[in-house]
């Protein structure tokens, strides 16, 4: 069963990567200093005995591998323990993760909906007026820093013309600005990718063969060319998801969006290491999971991968 083995192989790789990433996170967090000291940094009257008691309570006296094992166990069972200052980590994640996913999916969706038709159009009219415009706009989009674009949107659409809320999470309308900001930044790259990939596939012999069969131009472009171009596009979108998460952290702060980005920035600011360790690991696992999904989808689109 080559298909089954292919999936098994990819899942196996994803698990290995996840273990490596969590190991690194757990290790790196501990490098930043003694959590017991950090926890008590605000208060003035801490004795050495207090610190020992705190370390005991947090399990910091145990060897690293035991702590790491506990950490993995807590991730797997989703019994994530308490943060230093904010109570149950599970409750915090329970709010932050869905809102981040919502924003990620919305912005990715916006970018796909805009970039695929525009990219195809530019490829079909290569060198024409519309192609030039699309390429210039994409370059402009590439040159914006994401937070700057976000702030501009707020200034324009929430302050100068108060159409949309600048922050918060209460109504669906609050989603529009942050999703649009990230969506536009992603579109700028994606539209170029779609254009190049379509140009590449349209120059293939099988496209000419499809035309010589008498198929309509629609069928040639959407059935024969796009499906082949999609192979590279999907791969790229998976890789882009990592950048997207990085961008989300910034944009969530700009729009005060209560997501994983905001949560992890706050954890860093408060030196809340149990929370930090969990948020960073979950973000990393998300990226790994998306790339696993991409690998599997890739196998669906391209039959050559399935047996390889």
């Amino acid at each position: 069963m080559p298909v089954f083995r292919f999936i098994l192989q990819r899942v196996f790789q994803a698990v290995l990567v996840t273990l490596a990433v969590t190991l690194f996170v757990a290790f790196a967090v501990r490098l930043t200093g003694d959590p017991a000291v950090m926890l008590t940094a605000e208060s003035s009257s801490v004795t050495e005995e207090d610190l020992v008691r705190i370390r005991d309570a947090l399990g910091l006296n145990q060897p690293f591998y035991a702590q790491y094992f506990d950490f993995i166990k807590s991730l797997v069972t989703f019994d994530l323990g308490n943060s230093f200052f904010r109570g149950s980590i599970r409750d915090l994640i329970g709010i932050a993760l869905p809102s981040t996913l919502l924003l990620a999916v919305a912005s990715m969706g916006i970018s796909i909906l805009i970039s695929i038709p525009l990219g195809i159009h530019a490829a079909l009219h290569k060198g024409g007026f519309s192609d030039q415009i699309i390429r210039v706009l994409s370059l402009v989009g590439l040159s914006f820093p994401n937070f700057w674009l976000g702030i501009m949107f707020v200034l324009l659409l929430s302050i100068a013309f108060p159409i949309l809320p600048a922050s918060g999470f209460e109504t669906w309308r609050a989603l529009i600005l942050p999703a649009l900001t990230i969506g536009i930044i992603l579109t700028a790259t994606n539209v170029r990718l779609v254009r190049t990939q379509m140009l590449e596939t349209l120059s293939q012999q099988y496209v000419m063969v499809a035309r010589a069969k008498g198929l309509s131009e629609r069928s040639v472009i959407y059935k024969h060319a796009l499906r082949n171009a999609a192979i590279a596009i999907v791969t790229f979108l998976g890789l882009q998801f990592g950048n997207l998460i990085g961008g989300l952290v910034v944009i969530e702060l700009v729009f005060n969006w209560p997501g994983m980005g905001t949560l992890s920035i706050e954890a860093i600011a408060q030196r809340d290491y149990p929370l930090l360790q969990v948020t960073v690991s979950i973000l990393a696992i998300m990226i790994v999971a998306v790339n696993l999904a991409v690998d599997l989808v890739y196998g669906l689109i391209d039959p050559r991968i399935r047996v390889a």
């Binding site: 083995r5 098994l8 192989q9 196996f12 293939q204 012999q205 099988y206 000419m208 063969v209 499809a210 035309r211 010589a212 069969k213 008498g214 198929l215 309509s216 131009e217 024969h224 499906r227 082949n228 192979i231 689109i301 391209d302 039959p303 050559r304 047996v307």
Partner: protein
């Protein structure tokens, strides 16, 4: 159209066709004033070298020019369409009506079978698409019909093929699928654009056979585009010769190939290597091309002195590991070369022939030390190379030089050619000053028949044939005693190929060079070689002098290879035994080693692998 149209008009009548590309203000004319008629059940061959406009003409017939940025600038393409029920001009038909004709009444097969099929759809879906479009068949009816046509092109296991993907098929099988797909709507015209150029010679013979059979069966008219005169001679009823976008000569195949009137056609035919034309001679012979720079009389053929070999290869074995499974362990090995042995003598050309996957290039690369052997010995002027430390081996590398197939990829596009030519000489310390280098470059260019002042030009300013001359010049820069020419003339147009082959022979006569001439082209081999070694699945199956191999082939594979070569004998249809089967590959499971070949002497110097 006046009403006096003759009752039996040609199926397709092309009148004074001109095609232009680029800006309307400054167009490039790629086809200029071409006319021909194609009648029912006839085969018209359009022949010409690269850039003659033959492929573009065929795309114009399908109305596909605009997708390449071209347009019909003048003339008519009159086609008797049954679907549309009238005579139409394909040059200015609406896209809508053209689509009814494409794939239905006029179908096409392309040159590159490896890229002609869409990799992400099954064979069945790609064939069914055409049938559903033009014949309005249901899914199951389309499937039955596709199966029927896959059987017609004699593809084994047609049912399995329908649900599988192109990458699982060899080039020859893909081309058969293409033929099945093109023919499944029973077109009136089949356009075949170099359909066998990318295929091995035995596979080519199979494909040509299938096209001929099906044409006779289905009464299809064929437009056959080719640069290969042998193929044209076997396939065509009528021939149109084109040269740099203009028609040169047209007529029946007997007239054009048998008694050519135009000097260009004559020159083209003189350059075609014809198998069997050297029967009775023992030494290589230059092509006699009218108006050529090297006259054959100038180069006396010398017998080879076989007392001391330049190169001795003994039991050379090269294998490639194939890894698989979760832990990427070696599961299979490609036995690219198994116990290959031969000698090359000073001033001698040994041709190493075989089809794709035979291991011939691997042997060449191993000799050039681009590839490490698993075992075996190589002696160069008596010195064992593989036993030397790496440092000392380098010195021998300059004495063997490699000329690759692709002259485009093997010269640095950003360097003047003079610099590229002299680079190996610098590396090996053969020139020490700029003045010396300059003089040497001029000398090398003149040797390969190019003006010395071209040293400052860049590769893109040269034609394909000139670039291959440059590659030969670079190989000569180190005064090698052996040149390995790996398909060095295969990508060249036939007239250019003849000139480069002549150049190689002239250099051999002047400098006593030895060649290892690696190729699949038996006709060129007959011209250039003193001795021939035939490789099959990594092993030499037959070796001997050129007359021994060509006039008295012993091994079945040698016979098969020779019989598959298209013969330029206009008006005579080949009567070769039908060749079946794929070329197997040399992939074997771990531990499953091929049996070593035992050689039997046929006559003096002629050995053939004993058959089990």
């Amino acid at each position: 159209m006046p009403e006096t149209t003759p009752p039996k008009a040609s199926l397709l009548s092309v009148r004074d066709l001109s095609i232009e590309f680029g800006d309307v203000s400054s167009p490039a004319r790629v086809v200029d004033g071409v006319s021909f008629d194609l009648d029912h059940n006839r085969t018209l061959a359009i022949v010409g070298e690269s850039g003659s406009g033959k492929s573009i003409t065929s795309l114009a017939i399908l109305g596909l020019l605009k997708h390449l940025g071209g347009r019909v600038a003048g003339g008519e393409l009159l086609f008797q369409s049954e679907v549309l029920g009238r005579q139409v001009d394909l040059g200015n038909l609406s896209e809508r009506e053209l689509r009814k004709i494409r794939g239905n009444e006029i179908a096409m097969i392309f040159q590159e079978p490896m890229t002609s099929l869409n990799p992400v759809y099954t064979i069945g879906s790609q064939m069914g698409e055409t049938l559903a479009l033009h014949q309005d068949l249901s899914r199951s009816a389309a499937r039955r019909k596709a199966l029927e046509f896959l059987d017609l092109v004699r593809l084994p296991n047609a049912k399995w093929l329908l649900d599988n993907y192109p990458h699982q098929l060899s080039g020859g099988m893909r081309q058969r699928v293409m033929i099945a797909m093109a023919l499944c709507c029973q077109p009136k015209i089949l356009i075949a654009d170099e359909p066998t150029t990318a295929l091995d010679v035995t596979i080519q013979a199979q494909i040509l056979h299938i096209i001929r059979d099906l044409q006779a069966e289905m009464q299809t008219s064929v437009i056959f585009i080719s640069h290969d005169m042998g193929v044209v001679s076997e396939m065509a009823d009528d021939v149109l010769v084109m040269k740099s976008s203009k028609p040169i000569e047209a007529g029946s195949v007997k007239e054009v190939l048998g008694q050519p009137k135009e000097p260009y056609t004559r020159a083209l035919l003189a350059a075609v290597p014809r198998i069997g034309s050297m029967t009775g001679t023992t030494l290589p012979k230059l092509f006699d091309i009218p108006g050529q720079e090297i006259a054959p009389e100038e180069i006396p053929a010398k017998p080879v002195d076989r007392s001391k070999p330049v190169l001795e290869i003994e039991n050379l074995t090269v294998r490639f590991d194939i890894r698989g499974g979760l832990l990427s362990r070696v599961t299979h090995r490609v036995h690219a070369a198994e116990k290959v042995s031969f000698n090359i003598y000073p001033g001698e050309t040994l041709a190493l022939v075989g089809e794709s996957g035979s291991g011939k290039s691997t042997v060449g690369k191993t000799i050039q030390q681009l590839q490490e052997p698993v075992s075996g010995a190589m002696r160069f002027h008596g010195q064992d190379i593989f036993s030397l430390p790496t440092e000392d081996r380098k010195a021998f590398r300059k004495q063997t030089q490699y000329v690759f197939q692709d002259p485009y990829g093997s010269l640095n596009p950003r360097k003047p050619v003079g610099e590229s030519l002299i680079e190996p000489a610098w590396v090996h310390g053969l020139v020490t000053s700029q003045a010396e280098a300059k003089e040497k470059v001029a000398d090398l260019l003149v040797k390969v028949g190019l003006p010395a002042e071209h040293a400052g030009r860049y590769p893109h300013q040269f034609s394909g044939g000139q670039r291959q001359r440059l590659c030969i010049a670079r190989a000569l820069a180190c005064d090698p005693s052996l040149i390995i020419a790996d398909e060095a003339v295969s990508a060249l147009d036939v007239s250019v190929q003849a000139q480069v082959v002549n150049l190689l022979m002239k250099l051999q006569a002047e400098q006593g060079l030895s060649y290892l001439f690696i190729t699949h082209d038996m006709a060129v081999v007959e011209r250039i070689s003193h001795r021939v070694a035939v490789m099959y699945l990594g092993q030499i199956v037959e070796i001997g002098s050129r007359p021994q191999i060509f006039e008295n082939p012993q091994h079945p594979y040698t016979k098969r290879l020779l019989s598959a070569v298209p013969v330029l004998n206009p008006g005579v249809r080949p009567n070769r035994p039908h060749l079946e089967g794929e070329i197997p590959n040399a992939l074997r499971a771990l531990g499953d080693e091929p049996a070593p070949v035992e050689f039997v002497a046929v006559s003096d110097g002629h050995f053939v692998a004993a058959q089990a």
